[in-house]
Amino acid sequence: MRDPLEQAFELLKADSTELAPNPNLEHKLMTEFNRQRQPRRWKKVLTVLAVLLGLTLAGGGIAMAAGFDPIRLFITVNEDGSVKTLDAQGNPTDMHFEIVDDDGTTKTLEGTLPPGTYQLEFVPSKPGVKK
């Protein structure tokens, strides 16, 4: 004898029909799909704007901080005329010692300083103007 439960469910399965795909529902799904995409695009734009704003603020902060602190370099001119440069932390640097005047002429420091240790201060000014 068959399980009455299985028989009962066979009845239920035979009685139930499948619904036909509904074009209205499909249209609704597309509307929802577009609605879903909309805020995501805005979210993306807002994220980019937030990142740009963050970078600007951070950059501004760094510029402010650096702008008021001169960059210090130490130059040691040896007896043989060779020049050794160190930054404020004592690390060697690869700085060129050419000074470009406003009229475009250049001057080099090498060989013009007597032996000894010198401290240079680079105070930031308008961008593009070298001191």
Binding site: L5, A8, L11, L12, K13, D15, E18, P21, Q36
Partner: protein, 193 residues
Amino acid sequence: MELATLEELTRAEHEPGPRPTEAELIEAAKHEPDALSALYRLHHGAVSRYVMRRVGQANTAEDLVADVFLQMVRYLPKYRVGTTPFRAWLYRLATNRVNRWARWQRRRAWQVLHDIAQHDPAERRHDEAEHVRASLLTLPLHFQSVVALHYLEELSIAEIGQVLGCAEGTVKSRLARGRELLRSILTERDGDL
């Protein structure tokens, strides 16, 4: 993974030949409306059949199926291929939606069973399916889901575990308990015959 283009997906629907895999279709449906339509049409039959079997009324079933697919559109971007199988994921959405509806139907189900018991025995034969459905609706929800998925949708214990997100042992015990409860409700009525 390389995704199928929309053109490939559309062509696959109308032409014989290699079809995009389900994973490709799902990934494409996250960005392409036509792929989403294809995904809807692919699964509409199974989802609507399941909901219809549990609910019994076409109008209500249509509303619930619409909710299930709207949920699918909302949560599809979060669905990850390779985790829960997509069909099981859809059954989960459908089960949750039907359970929310069924929560308010238990009293009505008892009323239906009572009404059927008042009918003429000859007439009762026409009420069989409704009787089974109403009996199922009187069960606690966690038993209803397991019994319906097993007997109506013929899912295995492992598959039901995937749908409900619970261990196979839990599914087995719920199935055994739900089956006994349902059997007692059904045989009680048969005893009245």
